[in-house]
Amino acid sequence: MESTPKVEFLNMTFDLTIIIGTTVTCLIVFLISVLATRGLSRVPRGLQNLVEMAIDFVRGITRMTYDNKTADKYVVFSYTLFMFILVANQLGIFLMVTMHADQPFPALGIAEDDHVAWFKSPTADLSVTLAMAVAVALYTHIVGIRSGMKNYLGHYLTPLGPIHLIEEFSKPLTHGMRLWANIFAGEILITIMITEGSPLITGAPVIVWMGFSLFVGAIQAYIFTVLANVYISQKMAH
């Protein structure tokens, strides 16, 4: 397992690789979206079609989970999540930068003879996916409390209350880990196939696996977005 450069700041550890990956992903998503929406016209042209397609797709997701009025409010949220995860998942398939450290570099927490990853999918890191899952989970609780404290608390005071309570922890955990595990496994296998063994043997499988990873990345982005919306809508007053 490769280590990553880390920086201590305000008593918190920042993983530089992830920060680079997240920043790059955010920039790509933002640039695609903004470039596609320059010179908006009522009759869509070129890239505008692409973004509108994505918006329609995301709107489909929100319409599945909310009523039509609420659905439009969550389009931006869902679009951001979906596009970020999608781009992040695909980034690591095509671009992984690893270095071999000949000398230790204590400032970045790199020991001697480490394999240092400088660039990979941010979603292949558990901190990233769990951070998003937990943030979504916290938001769902805010939504639940705002839509009625009595209803929100009453949910846990039923005979099935303890199970619901456990669910509140298992939901973000599985939510985050599902995404992370899929992408992480994909990257690990790609790394292994590229670094170990003869390219003559692993060449064809790695291409197939990369294709499959692209598919898995898209599916996981979709699943994460859908689940986030489902969790939010579950907490809304019915």
């Binding site: 397992m1 993983d15 920060i19 903004v34 009522r42 973004v51 918006i55 951001t80 901190s127 990233v128």
Partner: protein, 161 residues
């Protein structure tokens, strides 16, 4: 695999910033345009439907007007034909009448002329026959008279002598 709180914080903040920027600079305008478009399309569809209904109504009206006009034209033609026939008949009748009148006039004239001619002829024949008769009488008298006169004169001459 370890949790790094800083990374988690950074991730959440980054997503929130991305969300805000996307809403501000990309999705907000696009969604506005999309809503405008769907409204525009809806409006266009209603307008098109209205127009179509109106057009259909107009077509029906036009059709009715056309059939009415056709009927009128037919009536007009029918009337004109009837009138024409009537006039033709009248003209023929007039012509026939006039011809008959002319014929009868001519006939009567011929008759009167004939009678007149016959009268004239008769007169002429009368005169001629009278003339002829007088001439013939005169001639007889003359011969007889002459000899008688001669005789008488001779007698008278003789007596006187």
């Amino acid at each position: 695999m370890s949790f790094t709180w800083g990374t988690m914080l950074f991730q959440v903040v980054a997503i929130l910033i991305l969300m805000f920027l996307l809403k501000r600079y990309a999705l907000g305008p696009v969604m506005k345009v999309m809503n405008e478009r769907s409204e525009h399309i809806e409006q266009q569809i209603t307008t098109a439907e209205q127009n179509r209904a109106e057009a259909e109504k107009l077509v029906a009206e036009q059709k009715e007007a056309l059939s009415q006009a056709r009927q009128e034209a037919k009536d007009l033609l029918e009337r004109a034909r009837a009138q024409k026939e009537r006039e033709a008949e009248e003209i023929i009748r007039d012509a026939r009448e006039r011809a008959e009148r002319l014929i009868s006039e001519a006939k009567s004239e011929i008759i009167s002329e004939k009678e007149q001619a016959i009268q004239e002829l008769r007169d002429e024949v009368g005169t001629l026959s009278v003339m002829l008769a007088s001439k013939m009488i005169e001639k007889e008298i003359k011969a007889k008279d002459q000899s008688a006169l001669v005789k008488k004169y001779l007698n008278q001459v003789g007596e006187l002598q």
